[in-house]
């Protein structure tokens, strides 16, 4: 399309053909207005003409470059190209769309597409070459981007697939191959229904109709079928594809394999169910055990009731008959007979005491109680007045009034005080009249009540043992007792929310103190 006179320095036609033909003028104008560089050179590579496009692309003016070697425009490492080009030109060949790199005046390099044609004289002699150079900078970027996109699509782990509006697959990346098992060659041209399980075929018209409306479908989780028939769980994102003029032509589909995720979820769900089942079983066990315990407690209560009635009755008879024998028939018995009867009587009485205390203990240990305000001063006076062992002549009992008002349970408090006072009197030191002092203080919502005596005292190593049930320190002979009294005291105080403490010096006396909430 373009031919220029090799001798002309400007884009105008050769001076020698001065007779400006209108056609030649037109040609010149066309050349000057081209965006491409249109240049001519002689066969030795000297530039002979230079249009405005060349000026713009290479940065040289015609004046600067005409007469220079074309090598000025070629990067040094590509100089060898010129020799090849010249050789081909001399053979009369035309070189089309030869892509290479050229240099601008400022040294910058850029991609070009060159089309070079030999310039011949009318008699066919080759005298030079015309060169059309197109700057590919913009074009190249586009291509690179396209390649990049293609590479990205290809390297994706997700299946990236396109289809037309009829659901026919039009492209298939390697991710799709990996997930679905089909080669691109096998599947392109076939319907996407190939990938959809039969029972889900109904989804496709819905998807297509949404696409036709231009809608995008995000993260649609569904199931697809692999080539080998196995199912895969996928998350689909489907977007409409439009051509340059905005017309809907198909859809791109990105499918992510979420099989592992689904399996993990399923496993998680399963473990959660297992865990829940386990928890339920556990709860049931607890419920069963609680029921059993409640049953046991009920049995124990029934047992203690039976102890209080059925076991005490024969005991009372033994005591009664032994006593009667001793009283009415004493004269008919010898000393040994009397002694044996006395032992029967004594033992039966002791058993009666044991039964009474075990019963008292089980009573303070069981059942719910309601704590009510109790004025300890008057309450204690009443107890002491009815306690036979605590009368003036036998012991000196002092109550340091006032005593605090506490939250307690009268039956329990009765057990606590009678047992503590009984103990204080029982463990009296030889040759010393028992003296007991009861006092109480209150501080910060809690009252501390102490019962102190001047008795034999308790060695520190026995402090724990005395509170245990049947936890006796002295042999029966020396101090009679059941070994349950302090257990009752501790249990009763605990049931009322308090604690019991003991302090003692062996040989000087003991101090039992307990706490209760003030009322």
């Amino acid at each position: 399309m373009v031919a220029t006179d090799a001798s002309s320095p400007q884009t105008s036609t050769a001076d020698s053909v001065h007779a400006a033909l209108p056609a030649e003028l037109l040609l010149s104008a066309i050349i000057d207005s081209s965006d491409d560089a249109i240049v001519s050179k002689s066969l030795d590579g000297t530039i002979t003409s230079w249009n405005r496009g060349a000026e713009r692309i290479f940065g040289y003016t015609a004046a600067e470059i005409v007469g220079q070697s074309v090598l000025t425009l070629i990067p040094p490492e590509l100089h060898h190209e010129e020799a090849e080009i010249l050789a081909r030109l001399q053979r009369g060949e035309r070189i089309e769309h030869f892509e290479s790199i050229r240099m601008r005046k400022d040294g910058g390099r850029f991609p070009v597409s060159l089309t070079i044609s030999p310039v011949k004289t009318p008699d066919g002699r080759i005298i030079g070459a015309s060169k059309v150079a197109r700057d590919l900078t913009g074009h190249r970027k586009h291509l690179e981007l396209r390649n990049l996109h293609a590479a990205i699509v290809e390297s994706s782990d997700d299946a990236i697939v396109s289809k037309d509006l009829n659901g026919i697959i039009t492209s298939w990346n390697s991710g799709a191959k990996r997930i679905f098992g089909y080669e691109a060659g096998e599947i392109v041209g076939r319907s996407v229904l190939t990938l959809i399980p039969p029972e889900l075929h109904g989804d496709e018209p819905m998807i297509l109709s949404r696409l036709r409306r231009g809608e995008r479908i995000d993260h649609f989780e569904t199931t697809r079928v692999r080539k080998d028939g196995r199912r895969v769980h996928v998350s689909l994102t489907i977007s409409p594809i439009r051509d340059g003029s905005g017309v809907l032509v198909g859809a791109s589909k990105v499918a992510r394999d979420i099989t592992l995720q689904r399996e993990a979820e399923a496993a998680l769900r399963e473990s959660r169910i297992k865990l829940e089942k386990h928890a339920q079983e556990l709860e049931q066990h607890v419920a069963e055990r609680t029921a059993k315990l409640q049953e046991t407690v009920a049995e124990l209560e029934a047992f203690s009731y039976s102890v209080s009635h059925d076991m005490r009755t024969p005991l009372r008879s033994i005591v009664g008959y032994a006593e009667r024998l001793l009283r009415v028939y004493r004269g008919k018995l010898d000393a040994e007979g009397v002694h044996h009867l006395e032992r029967i009587s004594k033992n039966a009485e002791r058993l009666e005491l044991l039964v009474r205390d075990v019963l008292a203990y089980s009573k303070v240990a069981k059942s719910e109680i309601r704590l009510l305000p109790v004025d300890l001063g008057p309450f204690l006076e009443t107890i002491l007045a009815t306690l036979p062992e605590a009368q003036q002549e036998a012991a000196l009992i002092t109550v340091q009034h006032p005593l605090p008002r506490v939250l307690g349970h009268e039956a329990y408090l009765l057990q606590v005080f009678t047992n503590l006072v009984d103990n204080a009197l029982k463990f009296a030191a030889e040759g010393r009249k028992p003296a007991i002092e009861i006092r109480g203080t209150s501080d910060g919502g809690w009252a501390t009540i102490s019962v102190c005596d001047n008795g034999i005292g308790i060695a520190p190593e026995h402090f724990d043992r005395i509170f245990e049930i049947f936890g006796r320190v002295y042999p029966d002979k020396k101090f009679e007792g059941t070994g349950i009294g302090l257990s009752i005291v501790r249990k009763a105080v605990q049931r009322m929310g308090g604690t019991v403490l003991v302090a003692s010096t062996l040989g000087q006396g003991s101090c039992f103190s307990f706490t209760l909430q003030t009322a």
Binding site: Y305, S308, H309, R312, T313, P314, L315, R316, S317, V319, G320, Y321, E323, R324, R327, E349, E352
Partner: protein, 144 residues
């Protein structure tokens, strides 16, 4: 109809023996009649069957009533007694080995005049009998 008979409702023969002994030792001369279960107590009081003869089985002034009885419990007997118009004012003393608050409360609710736990020894039982004599037979005034 005034009477000084004491009716002892007691199934345990030992307890009955000790009670009789204690009443005797306390020199209580009132005639004593005994029955061994709850149904007999009701039959006695209502004069049914073998208790029809009021000469031999006079209506009592005081009833000692055990709670744990065969046939009918002491509570049932008590309930029956208070349901009879003629026995609304009859003195009933519950004499039991139970010290359970449940039994105690129920007895008073059903109209017992007194609730006494059987003492563990004959001496204490004697004291009880003497106190009974003084309180219920000498000092206490009955409704007429």
């Amino acid at each position: 109809m005034t009477s000084d008979t004491i009716l002892l409702v007691e199934d345990n023969q030992d307890d009955a023996f000790f009670m009789k002994q204690a009443l005797k030792d306390a020199e209580i001369m009132n005639p004593l009649r005994e029955v061994e279960d709850g149904q007999q107590a009701i039959d006695y009081l209502s004069g049914t069957g073998k208790f029809a003869d009021r000469e031999r089985f006079p209506l009592p002034a005081v009833v000692f009533l055990d709670l744990k009885l065969p046939m009918k419990t002491g509570h049932e007997v008590l309930q029956w007694i208070r349901a009879q118009p003629q026995f609304k004012k009859l003195i009933v003393i519950v004499l039991t080995s139970s010290n359970e608050p449940v039994d105690l409360n129920r007895s008073y609710q059903l109209g017992a005049n007194s609730f006494v736990v059987k003492p563990p020894t004959p001496q204490e039982l004697l004291k009880l009998a003497e106190a009974f004599k003084l309180w219920w037979l000498r000092q206490n005034r009955v409704a007429c």
